[in-house]
């Protein structure tokens, strides 16, 4: 078992991460346009991901300092790798989707306004 202080820290970080992931879901549900949905969902989920990864790192580090063992180092390294993959993927998606939305808005603004049928 990890120490009491580390346990409290892990609990607080897991709680924070879960709450922010809930904010991300709420952002997806309540905002009216794609840009604000993406902005809220990506930011909130990224904060939640950071908190959960910090909790795992704290857990692995405290157990490694108390007991030693290669498996905790492996856990830390794999978690960092997963965090890197998720951060890079989310950043790439954010840039591409933002560009795509801008292009769609430009195309829509170039279109002539719809003329009502006189009949």
């Amino acid at each position: 078992m990890s120490s009491l202080l580390a346990d409290w820290g892990i609990w607080a970080l897991l709680f924070t991460g879960t709450v922010f992931c809930g904010f991300g879901l709420m952002g997806l549900l309540i905002f009216p346009d794609t840009m604000s949905r993406m902005f809220t969902a990506f930011r909130a989920t990224a904060i939640g991901l950071g908190a959960v990864i910090l909790a795992v790192l704290l857990y692995g580090f405290s157990l490694f300092m108390n007991n030693g063992g290669v498996q905790y180092l492996a856990l830390i390294l794999h978690t960092l790798l997963l965090g890197g993959v998720l951060a890079a993927g989310t950043w790439g998606m954010y840039r591409i989707i933002r560009e795509r939305i801008r292009l769609e808005q430009q195309v829509n603004s170039c279109r002539p306004p719809a003329v009502p049928d006189p009949d």
Partner: protein, 86 residues
């Protein structure tokens, strides 16, 4: 006593399920990509906490590969507009 990691995995899994269900009725491809990105992140976090709850690194290794493949597919779809239209 409730295992903190298992409980967190359960909550994150439910959130991931809601995000996946939310992405089904969406018509805009950009919106679907946003929901897909959030879903991949939440599923990966669920697997991360599950791997600690069960004490095995295999789940973590699997989810790294799955997240990588998921992001590659979604980036390809996002780069090629029209590829997501059936």
């Amino acid at each position: 006593m409730i295992d903190t990691w298992l409980f967190t995995a359960l909550v994150l899994g439910v959130l991931a399920l809601f995000v996946i269900l939310r992405s089904i009725p969406v018509r805009s491809p950009a919106d679907r990509l946003v929901a897909g990105t959030v879903a991949v992140t939440l599923v990966a976090m669920t697997a991360l906490t599950l791997s600690i709850a069960y004490g095995t690194l295999i789940i973590l290794d699997l989810v790294i590969v799955v997240a990588l493949i998921g992001f590659i597919i979604m980036l390809w779809i996002a780069k090629h507009p029209g590829a997501d239209r059936s």
